[in-house]
């Protein structure tokens, strides 16, 4: 085994290699930092980033009046470039009504159901992804800023527990790769630190835009575990933990990933 730092080796010997340290601040790096120059260039230029189609769709949906009241997102929130700036950086946030943590896509669904009184878009639908990408991109460049809110603590703690729990036939946790081995490769691909800064992302493998939950389901299938359902509390809790973990990194939505 190759150790990153001597200090870490000492730490591991003392603790028998069981518990690994979280990624230190100066080593923290977004997923885009692990990518090839070509993929980075694709993400950086809005005329070559295919995620921008989703942004354009989202912009159209933002202005589209729906429901019996014929209200659009813009009817209440106005210009998304102003009102939605920072929204993605602070989600998952605490939802007063349900008393639980809620992610950005969940918030958009609720708003559509309760405020626009329209049929909410299902998770994974192109429309919900488009709106989430459009709202997400308004925070581009801003640091991920998990809200200082004690009511989110149980969610974050559960997310951390799930992140560190070994699952599936391969008996791996998220942390086995993304905390302990992020400087190595898996099957030729770099293992990243699992910072959800670019979501929803355009994934070249998918040939489309997809959510963080879809990406996490991929990883769960990869370790041969049964993935959680879209929109499940487990995923929201994981997202809440991941956002505290990624705190301070810049939002990149829409990210491009291989």
């Amino acid at each position: 085994m190759v150790w990153r730092k001597p200090g870490l080796a000492v730490f591991a010997i003392i603790f028998g290699g069981g518990a690994m340290a979280e990624i230190a601040g100066e080593e923290k790096k977004s997923g885009s930092g692990f990518m090839s120059r070509e993929t980075q260039a694709m993400q950086a230029d809005d005329t070559s980033n295919p995620g921008m189609f989703s942004v354009l769709d989202g912009e159209r949906l933002w202005r589209e009046p729906v429901g019996p009241a014929m209200k659009s997102c813009a009817s209440c929130h106005g210009d998304a470039e102003v009102s939605m700036r920072g929204a993605a950086a602070r989600h998952p946030a605490f939802d007063e009504t349900s008393g639980k943590a809620i992610d950005l896509a969940g918030r958009i669904k609720l708003c559509r159901r309760d405020k626009q009184t329209a049929e909410p878009f299902p998770r994974g639908s192109e429309e919900l992804l488009a709106l989430t990408t459009y709202v997400g991109t308004q925070s581009r460049g801003m640091p991920v800023a998990p809200p200082v809110d004690e009511r989110l603590t149980p969610s974050r703690e559960n997310g951390k527990r799930l992140f560190e729990a070994r699952i599936g036939q391969l008996d791996l946790s998220c942390a086995s790769c993304h905390d302990d081995n992020w400087d190595k490769r898996l099957g030729g691909s770099p293992i990243t630190q699992a910072h959800p800064t670019g979501y929803p992302i355009y994934r070249l493998e998918w040939q489309s835009v997809g959510s963080l939950q879809r990406r996490m389901r991929n990883c769960m299938v990869g370790v041969r575990a049964e993935p959680y359902e879209f929109g499940s509390q487990e995923f929201i809790d994981l997202e809440a933990y991941l956002n505290t973990r990624a705190s301070g990194l810049a939002v990149e939505t829409p990210g491009v990933r291989p």
Partner: protein, 107 residues
């Protein structure tokens, strides 16, 4: 029909400059080799032809095949000769052509 396309071409150029033009269109590029959830083949639906004209003359064209990814992105270069319109046309398997344009001022 206006295409959902993203065009990157310089708005101005000096006569004789080599300019890069990049064009991307939203298209699923369904290969025709995939099965749907019901086991039925999903019919092929791709863009099979891309043509770019500059001042009415064709400067670049390409035939596209099922191996080309979704949202095909095409980049090429040309020489700026005169002010005018650069037209992009994508033709699909359904025979429909979608177009987009960009203006360039050459001095």
């Amino acid at each position: 029909m206006t295409a959902r396309a993203l065009i990157n071409a310089p708005k101005t150029a000096r006569k004789g400059d080599i300019i890069e033009i990049r064009a991307m269109i939203a298209h699923k590029m369904e290969t025709g080799y995939r099965q749907g959830p019901n086991g039925q083949m999903i019919p092929r639906d791709i863009i099979n032809r891309f043509v770019c004209t500059y001042g009415g003359a064709e400067i670049f064209s390409a035939d596209l095949f099922p191996a080309v990814s979704a949202n095909p992105f095409i980049a090429f270069s040309t020489v700026a000769t005169e002010s005018g319109t650069i037209t992009f046309a994508w033709t699909g398997d359904d025979g429909q052509t979608q177009t987009a344009t960009a203006e360039i001022a050459v001095n």
